[in-house]
Symmetry: C2
Amino acid sequence: MEDSQTEISSLGEFGLIDRLTKEFPLKNESTKKGVGDDAAILRYGDKDVLVTTDLLLEGIHFDLRYVPLKHLGYKAAIVNFSDVYAMNGTPRQITVSLGVSSRFTVEHLEQLYSGIRLACELYGVDLVGGDTSASVTGLVISITCLGEGRPEDVVTRTGAKPTDIICVSGDLGAAFMGLQLLERENAVAAGQKDFQPDFAGKEYILERQLKPEARRDIVEALRKEGIKPTSMIDVSDGLSSELLHICKDSGVGCRVYEDRIPIDYQTALMAEEFNMNLVTAAMNGGEDYELLFTVPITDNEKIEKMKGVTMIGYVTEPQLGAALVTRDGGEIPIKAQGWNAFREDSQN
Amino acid sequence: MEDSQTEISSLGEFGLIDRLTKEFPLKNESTKKGVGDDAAILRYGDKDVLVTTDLLLEGIHFDLRYVPLKHLGYKAAIVNFSDVYAMNGTPRQITVSLGVSSRFTVEHLEQLYSGIRLACELYGVDLVGGDTSASVTGLVISITCLGEGRPEDVVTRTGAKPTDIICVSGDLGAAFMGLQLLERENAVAAGQKDFQPDFAGKEYILERQLKPEARRDIVEALRKEGIKPTSMIDVSDGLSSELLHICKDSGVGCRVYEDRIPIDYQTALMAEEFNMNLVTAAMNGGEDYELLFTVPITDNEKIEKMKGVTMIGYVTEPQLGAALVTRDGGEIPIKAQGWNAFREDSQN
């Protein structure tokens, strides 16, 4: 039994999921789409029910030395809502399961739940269930979110067509730079009593890391303009990784322009301070929870007028592959360097 | 912040859930019932969608020294299906999230998934999503199950009425005795090389612990007989605990007869070998995944004819409380001594 064992890190997260789930044929009429998008699509009655789930583990996904529990609860809910919006749906219900070690008190969990509650209030989502248990080490948070969409509205990753415009909401790389800042200040603080980090002028990147929002406003604005994206995904693992998902699942290529990638000036300043490549941070940082989507070129004018949306490139025939067009007109193939919880060495 | 901290164990699992979820008002039309039953009830289109979730943590819920990964996967799926059947529904979809530490290989996870796959095949359930991540220590399994039911069929814990008959499927206490056996053999094995435990004649209690089934057959038989239970719950934490849930949620009392509690002879033999009180094991052992339900007294004759169902007592007015009627005619108040992952000391 123990001969020929394969290290999980050799497959990566997506490779592992492919291998584990490939032998699960779908059997139910109510299952329209299973593994492989931001959310599964189920059909109950005349509604599409969207289902997504996230598992957050202490020491892997969050560090309680600098993440307040309330923020953690808020973010844990938001990342699930974001997946439902990325299907062009509306989040409706969540279940929250917790594993908690003995160092946590009821008051700690109340802080965590106050963040979950705030997110639920702001996004109109109901908490409908969960499971709570002791854990041997650390905090485990598992959230499943159900959303709703009219079948004719739901958007997957599979519909991008050559000549479609590629758009992204907000700006990228800020959450990643916020994390770098928090980790540096935490390391500095470790050696000093009463250390007070100076976060002045860096509020935006910190907020992007600690208290991200899901882009309901973009989904609503698109609906108001009568635009249905041909494909959509949320940027959780980094723009590069998400572009490759759309290209693979839609069977297309893409060109994205370096000088069109939206980046906030705080992100740029921080990258300079850390002597990091800004475009790499924006392309691969992840945790942006912005929406990446494609629209027919005929929606060009409508998109141009929309606030908070940037056209960053266009969809091509598949044989052209996925590439970043640099400022000097060169082309660099896009590779997924997104955050990988199984990767043994960081490769930024 | 740190003053006046409350130990989680002082509230217990249900007290903790009450406290954390009480300030979450339901906002969506599609949410019919949130926290507080075997599954949440959502209404999408003309269907009730049932949602339940379970979090299983290594070192708390399972011990890989004597639980094969395939069995663990099977059981992790089954316990969720059982919750949907306990609502008189049919499980349709699951999501599976895993946290895995570095000692696990791809082949280990394939074993785990082969058990999940077998359960999905036998019960006609689709795997539709999940999340997979590294973990710092041990294995984390979080499964969410969606089920379907016609609104007129779905059964909660709230409808039991005085004079209703209390029924339970199968037999009780076997999974608990199976666990005792596995733990003893594991302790013995620890000191010996090439130790071979002798499980002859104990196959049933081991199977009840390692490879439980969900009682789809009972739900189908009830439907065939035209019986709709007035309340139903699955026996996961022990008969005592589940009886109290029904009594509390239905606002009733109950009388259950000690000599009517169904117990397999292997369970009885094992209890004797361990010098344990058999009725205590059957009332409080848990992990039986049998169905406990109440039916109107007019269904008496139909129930009598059903295979695999035992009438164990009746529902009373609330002021009579919940009591076990002993063989000598005495009454002992029923207390929840169910398994509690937060309890610091076992109190059997």
